[in-house]
């Protein structure tokens, strides 16, 4: 069998989730080819060619494929799909946006956010905010999957370099036009690949306090910054930082939850972290039911004390 992995990238580098999805793709058992579709995206293709286990990289470099719009990329994937038994993408914003379109055009049921490959057609995936794990078998002639990055280790870079072959975009009247984007740039680690995450909740009370309390601790630990939905909704943190059922799913070595109650939707995004620390002034807060180490107290007092103890 042969698998096509759709890379998530920004034209110059690969998203970490791509190498994690590669690990899952390799577990299907066949050869893996990686499609890098974008504009001026040669550098991303070069990075894909270096990943261990990749047999071939397909490079589609076309202005029409810029900004990862779902319509032209799905059309391109469908044009290539005849050669493949499985089509895989990381369950990133782009993967979630593009892949169901591919699945429907191929008349195949998609299996979303797999966390385990049991065999080439059987997978585990969490449902009900991770309160249940479904084992499903695809009966379609092709398999279409998105992969939850936190459940698979990134594939390493190998010594070998896979060949890169050009493929052409599919022209069409897609009726979707890029207008603009506002992307935050940060020197902090990216949430879904960070080893340590410091996450703040509604208790922070304002964007100013969030920045004043969460960021120094995150910087001290070299950590990524996360937030609960309540903190994002209130504008304390950007939407991109939301951890949970409907935000980012993370599993760092250390997750520090500050002033977060631990609603099921939040737990869904972080309860597979290796070590969980919670600071909450309510000793009955549900977050303590999953925390390895808890401090009952006022985070505005405790966090500076943690920083002091670290020094």
């Amino acid at each position: 069998m042969t698998t096509l992995l759709i890379a998530d990238h920004n034209n110059t580098s690969l998203a970490d989730a791509t190498s994690r999805a590669l690990t899952a793709a390799l577990q299907l058992g066949g050869d893996v080819h990686v499609l890098v579709a974008g504009a001026n995206d040669r550098a991303a293709a070069d990075a894909a060619a270096k990943l261990d286990g990749v047999k071939k990289v397909l490079l589609a470099d076309d202005p029409a494929l810029d900004h990862q719009l779902a319509e032209p990329i799905a059309a391109l994937v469908v044009s290539l799909a005849g050669d493949y038994d499985a089509i895989v993408a990381p369950a990133t914003g782009n993967g979630k946006n593009i892949l169901p379109r591919v699945a429907a055009l191929l008349d195949v049921a998609q299996v979303s956010e797999i966390t385990k490959v049991i065999s080439s057609d059987t997978f585990e995936r969490p449902i009900y905010a991770g309160n249940a794990i479904a084992e499903v078998r695809s009966t379609d002639r092709k398999t279409v999957l998105t992969v939850r990055g936190s459940a698979f280790a990134p594939a390493p870079q190998g010594a070998a370099t896979a060949p890169i072959e050009p493929v052409a975009a599919v022209a069409g009247d897609y009726r979707s036009f890029f207008v603009g984007e506002a992307l935050a740039s940060s020197d902090r680690p990216e949430l879904t690949s960070a080893k340590v995450i410091v996450s703040g909740g509604r208790a922070l009370g304002s964007a100013a306090k969030f920045n004043e309390v969460i960021l120094p601790l995150a910087d001290r630990l070299g950590a990524a910054v996360g937030a609960s939905r309540a903190a994002v909704d209130a504008g304390y943190a950007p939407n991109d930082d939301q951890v949970g059922q409907t935000g980012k799913i993370v599993a760092p070595d250390l997750y520090i939850a500050l002033g977060i109650s631990g609603a099921i939707q939040h737990l869904a995004g972080m309860k597979n972290s290796k070590i969980i620390v919670a600071v909450n002034k309510d000793e009955d807060a549900p977050i303590f039911q999953v925390a390895d180490y808890g401090i009952v107290g006022d985070l505005f007092q405790v966090v500076p004390e943690i920083e002091k103890a670290l020094n």
Partner: protein
């Protein structure tokens, strides 16, 4: 312009799903069911567009068992004008849902279909995108802002790293994210009024769609359990523990 809003009845977001002892699924007996929160946001957005005079009619549609019409009633109470229940006792997967919705869209000719980005039961996040593919319509998923005009819709989307804005020429698909709006609590009079609004009942066969599942559900198990750890008194003690656990 008409807007079509597909809605789903799901486990209430405050209820906890319990796995059945025989591992055949999740036990939903005696569990509170509600309209999927993202669909509520979709209905709210459609109704606001109608209140702004940009839309003439909001049609809600659901696919499921007879009780699924509770989701339609919730949509009608927010302000949708009428409902369509495509009734079936089968488990219908997103692809078949999208096929049914494509038939409804062909019949109703909406300018926009607004769907929730995911249902909080199966967490698939597929239906809107699949519907776009089947109809050949453009899509803007994970919307946090929707600006509708007669010919196009401009949508700001939540993407990894921030926001992206797209312009789609109509007809088009939009899927909603949490920060698009805050749905209203329907007033009692509106809940009463909703009971009188029309709901048309159909069957998948009326649309000639085969809803046979493509995925075999082999079993539904418990997630790995995680037990509570210990409480520590001071920050110093915490840092000690983390160091000896190798986490720092």
């Amino acid at each position: 312009m008409k807007i079509l809003v597909p809605v789903k009845l799901v486990i209430d977001s405050n209820a906890k799903a319990r796995v059945k002892p025989d591992q055949s699924g999740v036990d939903l007996a005696n569990v509170k069911l509600s309209i999927n929160p993202f669909d509520e946001i979709s209905v709210e957005e459609a109704v606001r567009l109608k209140e702004a005079g940009k839309v003439s009619e909001v049609v809600a549609v659901t696919i499921g068992v007879a009780k699924a019409q509770d989701a339609l009633r919730a949509a009608l109470a927010i302000g949708a004008d009428r409902g369509i229940l495509i009734q079936t006792d089968e488990m219908v997967e997103p692809l078949a849902i999208a096929k049914l919705l494509a038939k409804v869209a062909e019949a109703e000719q909406p300018g926009v279909v607004i769907l929730g980005k995911q249902a909080i039961d199966d967490d698939s996040n597929q239906t809107g995108q699949m519907l776009g593919a089947l109809l050949g319509w453009p899509q803007a998923t994970f919307a946090s802002k929707v600006d509708l005009s007669a010919e196009a819709v401009e949508v700001t989307r939540e993407v990894d790293g921030g926001h992206q804005t797209l312009k789609l020429t109509l007809p088009a698909i939009v899927t909603t994210d949490l920060r698009l709006n805050e749905p209203r609590y329907p007033s009692l009079p509106n809940i009463m009024k909703a009971k009188k609004k029309p709901i048309e009942t159909k069957a998948p066969a009326d649309y000639g769609v085969d809803v046979t599942p493509r995925l075999k559900l082999l079993k539904v198990g418990e997630p790995p359990a995680r037990s509570a750890g210990i409480k520590v008194k001071t920050a110093g003690e915490l840092v000690e523990k983390l160091k000896s656990a190798g986490a720092l």
